[in-house]
Symmetry: C3
Subunit: 249 residues, 3 copies
C-alpha cells in the first residue's frame, strides 16, 4: 500500500498523492497520509514539505463510489479520520507548500486550504468546493480553513456557488497564492519551499500557531455536530441519487 | 396592517417593505416582518426570497421621530425585537436576496447585511451605516454582520466615517455584491434568487449555518450589553438634539 | 526622562516617540508612554491623538542590545508591560492616528496596528513585522491586531515572510490607510485627526469597542502563553546569535 510517495531532497520533502487516476481519498489512504505526515513532523532533517499529486489531479476528493458501499457508521469513522487529518495538517509544525498539479476538488481542496502556501497549475485544472452542486454539505473545519484563507465574504461565495475555478480565478479570490505553468510548477514550488526552509523552525511554528489557533479551535468545536449533519444530508434521497451518478474512473 | 407585501412566483417569494415614503422601521413593522419571515421559513413551496422595498427607499432605518415619543423601556423592547429579527434573518434557513431598490440607511443597512446576496440600484441611492454622523452608536450584531460581509478593516472604515456610499462605492467595499440599473434590478434579483432556488435546500442551510455560526454567536453574546450602551448614548443630550432634527416625511 | 513628547493644539494632542536615533522601546519608555496615554484618556479637552516619532524612525521596535542584558524574568516583566500597553492602545477610548514618519519595525509596527488609522511617509521608510528573519516569534496580541487590520491571509503573508514594505506596498496590503509625502505627513495626519475629533465621543468609543472586542478577547486569552513561547525562542542559541548581531545606534 502506497498512496503517498514521499521523497526527500536536502531539507525539502515531497509528498505525492498517488491513488488511481484521480487520487480519490478513502479510509486507508487518509490513514497512510496521516502516518506519513506524522513521520515528516518528527524527521529533523525535513524543514519544509511540498504536497502534490500524480497525474492530472491533485485530488478528486472523496472516493464517492467506494463510500456508497460503506455503512453509515463506517462513513462517520472515515469522516472523523479525515477531519482529524486536515485539522492536524492546518496546525502542522512545519511549512507545507501545496503544488496543485491538477484538479483540486472538494475534499482535495480542503487538504489544500490546510497548507501554508498554494501554487496552482494554469490551464484546464480546476479548484472547487463544489459540494453544493451535488447536494452535499461541507465540513466545519473546511469552512473555517476557507474563511482563514479568503475571508468570510469570498468563502461564502465559493461555497454558495460551488463554482469550478481556474488557477487565475482562484488567485483573484485568494484561494491560491501563485499561478505556475505546468512546466514550471515543480521548480516554483521548490523555490517557495526553500524560502520556508530557511526560516527559524521554532519561530515559524510558533507564529503559525498564533495565526491559526483561533480558527482551529472553531474547527474542533464544531466538527462533531457538522459530521452528523453532513452524514444526514449525504444519505438523504435526493443527494444519494446525485452521488450514485458520480463516476471517477 | 401590512408593512410587508409578500407574493410568490413559483419557488421564489418576494417580500416588499412598505411603510410610508421611506419604509422607516417601527415596532409593529418589525413584528410583522418577523412573522412573515417565520411563515416563509416553513412554507415548503418557497425555495428563495427576494427582500426589497417600495418607492425610493429600501429602508430609511428606524422611524426616529416616532421613537422620540417612546419611553426608554419601550425603546429597549423595540431594540430587542429588532436585533432578534436581524439575528434570525442572518441565520435564516433559506437564501435571501436583498434587492436594494433605493436608499438603504442605518437599520435598513443592518437588515441588508443579514441577507445572502445584495444587489443595489445604481444612481442616486445611497447605502450607509451613518449612525456616528448623528452621534448614535450601533448595535453589536450589526457590527458582526458587517465584519462578516466586508472584513474588519472595511467595517471599521464604514462605521468610523458614516459615509453615504453609492452602489458602485459599496460594491468596491464588498458591501453589495452586484450593481444593477433601476430597470434591471427586479429581473437581476430574480435570476440570482432562481440560482439559489436550484440548490439542495438542506445542503444550503447547513453550509450557511457553518459559515455564519461563529459570527452569530458573537452577535448574541454581545447584544444585550450593546443595547444598553446604545440606549444610554441615544438619550444623551447631544445625540438627542441631533435626533430631534431628523425629519423623515 | 521624556521618551514621549506630548503637546496639544485645540482638541488634538500629538504624542512623539523620542528616544535616541531610532526610538527603540525599553521598559522605562513603555512605562512612560503608558502613563501619558492614560493621561490623554482622561483629559476632557483632548478629542483625538496623533501618534508619531522623531527623526527617521517611528520606532525600531525593541531595544535589542539593551534587552540582551536583561535577565529572563526581567524580560518577561517587560513583555507583560509592552503587551498590556498595546492591548490598552487597541481599545483606547479616543481615536488615535498613527503618523508613521519613518521606519516602523517589529514592536514599532505592533504599536501602529493598535491605532485607528495609519498614514505612512513615502520614500525610504519601511514597515515590517520582520521577527521571523532574525528567528524570533511574535506576540499573540500583535497577530490578532494584524489580522484585524489586514485579514488573516495578508497577516500570514506578512509574518511568514518578514518583508520590509514601502508605504505603497503596505497600502496595497491594507497595513497603512494613506500614503503621504514627508512634507505633507503632519498636515495630512492633522486633517484625519480633526475629522475624528468632530465625531461624538461616546458613539465613537462604543463603536470602536464593538468592532474590536472579540479581537481583544483573543489577544488577552492567548498572551500569557505566547510570552512564554516567545521568551523560550528568544533565548534559544540560534536566535540569540542573531540578536547579538543587531546594532541600533
Amino acid at each position: 500500500m502506497s498512496f503517498l510517495h514521499v521523497s526527500r531532497d536536502g531539507e525539502i520533502a515531497t509528498a505525492i498523492l498517488s491513488r488511481g487516476k484521480v487520487n480519490a481519498l478513502n479510509e486507508p489512504m487518509v490513514e497512510e497520509i496521516t502516518r506519513s505526515f506524522e513521520d515528516l513532523a518528527t524527521d529533523n532533517e525535513v524543514k519544509s514539505i511540498i504536497f502534490t499529486g500524480s497525474g492530472k489531479f491533485f485530488s478528486f476528493g472523496f472516493d464517492v463510489p467506494e463510500f456508497l458501499n460503506y455503512s453509515k457508521s463506517d462513513f462517520i469513522r472515515y469522516l472523523e479520520k479525515f477531519t482529524n487529518f486536515y485539522t492536524y495538517l492546518f496546525l502542522f509544525p512545519k511549512p507545507i507548500v501545496a503544488a496543485l498539479n491538477g484538479h483540486t476538488i472538494a475534499g482535495g481542496c480542503m487538504l489544500a486550504t490546510a497548507c501554508d502556501f498554494r501554487l496552482m497549475v494554469t490551464g484546464k485544472a480546476k479548484i472547487a468546493l463544489n459540494e453544493i452542486t451535488f447536494g452535499s454539505a461541507v465540513l466545519a473545519g473546511s469552512v473555517e480553513m476557507l474563511k482563514y484563507c479568503v475571508g468570510s465574504r469570498n468563502a461564502q461565495s465559493i461555497l454558495y456557488n460551488g463554482t469550478m475555478y481556474s488557477a487565475e480565478e482562484a488567485f483573484e479570490l485568494g484561494l491560491v497564492d501563485q499561478v505556475s505553468s505546468a512546466d514550471a510548477l515543480a521548480e516554483d514550488a521548490r523555490k517557495v519551499a526553500q524560502e520556508f526552509a530557511k526560516k527559524n523552525s521554532s519561530a515559524f511554528r510558533c507564529t503559525k500557531h498564533l495565526l491559526r489557533k483561533s480558527a482551529s479551535e472553531e474547527m474542533i468545536k464544531r466538527e462533531k455536530d457538522a459530521i452528523l449533519d453532513f452524514v444526514d444530508i449525504w444519505y438523504s434521497e435526493q443527494t444519494w441519487e446525485n452521488l450514485k451518478a458520480i463516476k471517477i474512473y
